[in-house]
Symmetry: C2
Subunit: 446 residues, 2 copies
């Protein structure tokens, strides 16, 4: 198996990028180009997206080089002329990048990132950059909804086993943390990103013992403040065994929570709470998991289920209701001239841009997508993050998480709701930009 | 950025696996355990699943070791006793594995893989094994539907930019190829797996030129047998420019196909076909892409659209309608005794198994999930693939692709249809296995 790493990541691209590069080099089409990365339409179940993945994108740009190993791989694929491979081997990314910081809510049509670089460089990086920002934006946007549904109760990421592969396993934990998830079960991600790591026990642990009480006793002997899984055979029976154990252990009993992973969580959590409280175990919390998403969490809390924390796996880990975004990377300017495209329903706004987000009484009141040279009311959302191929100041994960929390709170309540915002959050295109588009269309059609 | 690689992959696991391992070591619970990996329920839009990902799972098992680097990472996370870390550093996977070969159609409840190993080893590997087999089975199962819809027309994988991360980008190309996809746009996957790589041009290439005709001319000068993208400004206008170019180049014109990427593909493909044919370009094929899936492909072909090949991206790349499966890894036997679990709607069939698939007139007539010791009519689907931690014979990608093609053709027509098979393909549990389950339940409940 070949893992993707820094040495071969430049080949994690579409063949047409290399075909176009060959042509650009041959034709000396190497003037400065601007590409916008944005989402054309929001999925029906998203009122906003949470931009995420910039750090990995910038790292890729900064590290980009075709190693001798990568060149050898390419050569083995076939028909690339030696002069092209040689040219590739000296290629570096030398451009500028403007982007919204990670953890920023964005809307349809708003650039998440703009790349300004010689056309071949800017073209080549499309596939990898899109792959990384798409993934993390998909996942952070889903997690933001789940965190909102859980309110003040912590959400723990249990998604690793069903995220799409190893890279998604890592990046999901990162994106979820930015979106407000409290901890992850993923050991490697926790270590690499400095995210709190959490874990309880599996049913197999209970099953491997001859009886449930013995399993509980052994586990908490080693891990006294564990979360104990009580539903392997019969949930309330499991709770009662834990109560028995609490009597046996007396003050040595320090179990922090029980976990319910199946059945009617509302009914079971109420019955478990009563049983625990009646036996002096008020401090033992109730942790729920098992196929949860924002809707089931909201419903549990609406009906008053006494659940203190949620473990969420698959539905967050693959963003089940919206696993992909219509995210595109489009040429908007080349050699100083705005570029557009007339494919049906896929319009492109030409030229470099800025997005302005005005606040009214502390609430975002509607974004304006404008030309980069415009000055319009509101906070400018795109900031320079790379110049001449070198990263500028690098934000921390914690800062991105705080930004997400703050910026989401600024959105109108309808936007933060789980239901479709009606009307959707307003975004407008500035008159200046519309005029530039009209001029480009005239030029392209002539 | 830390890429996942052989050295840190063992840490790509859930914390609870390590917590349980600590307990198992402390309690000396190290007898032989059997775990089954299977899907509890099929998504409503899948009549069968195509098992995939075994090769990566076995490679992981064979390579499994906690390197000093991995141990250091773990130690930095906190409360692991030195004796546990030391024990981990010598841990290897020494078990046996039985599995259905890659490219085998499977159904709900049927083990895709069975691991028989000392409990701590078998438990530890759950997360990574599930992550890899889940991903590739999700994607191969989706691709099989798209390949079926396209019939004899080739399907090309364009999904890389929206697959979930780098690992999914690689493994998707592999899974799609097994399911019958003809080629991938992914350069690295093509090189690593030996899959044909295909690529055309992007709209940005056309836009970067001052006019479309010049763009076409330059591109095919370098890549004479290209697929030319004609819809940047106006699809039929683009076709006419290509016709003009064919007149200019005469016998040097060798363009293989045009690509349509937007608009009403049925209408546009018919009009383009007429235009090409009327100008002596019968040999120029029509390649369609743009948000396609099995349903839109079937509809295009049903209404007779003259399309010769399909490029499919996002909807296949994330398996949009079913991005996750209810795939689980369950303890079914420990220390020679069948194990079960009574959590509501999550029953577990105890003991080692075999799945038998009888054929009637060359068509699979219904599977039986049985005990491993049973001999029942039909082909046994699970075969030994690893013994004592060493892989047995290793299948090629091509063999898996051929198996998928052959085994899917054996399924009843209703099962191969895009509509929900009604009734679904029959799977039964053998009487022997039901009796074993009843005995285990009695034992667990007592």
């Amino acid at each position: 198996m070949t893992w993707v790493d820094d040495a071969n990541a430049p080949l994690l691209t579409d063949l047409y990028q290399l075909r176009m590069l060959q042509a650009y080099f041959a034709e000396r089409i190497e003037a400065s180009a601007t590409f916008d990365l944005y989402v054309r339409r929001l999925p029906p179940t998203r009122n906003f997206l949470l931009a995420c993945g910039l750090d990995d994108a910038l790292r890729f740009l900064e590290q980009l080089r075709f190693s001798p190993q990568a060149i050898a791989r390419l050569a083995s694929l076939g028909p690339f002329p030696g002069s092209f491979l040689e040219r590739l081997s000296t290629l570096r990314f030398t451009g500028d990048v403007f982007a919204v910081p990670e953890g920023t809510p964005v809307f349809a049509g708003e650039p998440i990132l703009e790349i300004v670089a010689p056309l071949p460089e800017a073209q080549l990086v499309e596939t990898f950059i899109t792959n990384q920002i798409h993934l993390q934006t998909v996942l952070a946007s889903k997690a933001a909804r789940i965190v909102a549904a859980a309110g003040s109760r912590p959400v723990v990421d249990f998604g690793l086993r069903r995220t799409h592969g190893a890279d998604a396993g890592m990046k999901s934990a990162r994106a979820f943390f930015i979106a407000g998830v409290a901890a992850t079960s993923n050991v490697l991600a926790g270590q690499v990103y400095g995210i709190p790591v959490a874990g309880t026990m599996a049913h197999s642990y209970v099953q491997a013992h001859d009886d449930e009480l013995a399993a509980f006793r052994s586990f908490i002997e080693l891990h006294p403040d564990s979360v104990v899984l009580v539903d392997t055979y019969d949930t309330l029976g499991g709770v009662r065994k834990l109560v028995t154990l609490s009597h046996q252990l007396a003050e040595r009993f320090r179990v922090s929570a029980i976990r319910l992973d199946s059945g009617d969580l509302a009914t079971l959590s109420r019955a478990a709470r009563r049983e625990l409280d009646a036996n002096g175990l008020r401090s033992v919390k109730i942790f729920a998991s098992g196929g949860l998403d924002e809707h089931s969490i909201a419903e549990l809390l609406r009906c008053g289920a006494p659940i203190d924390a949620f473990g969420v796996g698959t539905r967050m880990g693959v963003s089940e209701d919206a696993p992909a975004l219509d995210m595109v990377y489009k040429l908007v300017e080349y050699d100083g001239r705005g570029r557009t495209k007339l494919s049906p329903e896929k319009e492109v706004l030409p030229g470099r841009k800025q997005v302005f987000r005005p606040l009214r009484n502390g609430t975002a009141s509607g974004d304006v997508i404008a030309g980069a040279e415009e000055a319009i009311d509101g906070r400018p959302m795109l900031v320079p993050v790379m110049r001449g191929g070198r990263r500028l100041e690098r934000g921390t994960l914690q800062a991105a998480r705080e930004r997400a929390n703050r910026d989401i709170a600024e959105l109108p309540a309808s936007c933060r709701s789980l239901e479709a915002a009606d009307p959707p959050y307003p975004t407008a295109v500035s008159e200046f930009l519309r005029e530039r588009q009209a001029r480009s269309i005239t030029a392209a059609s002539s």
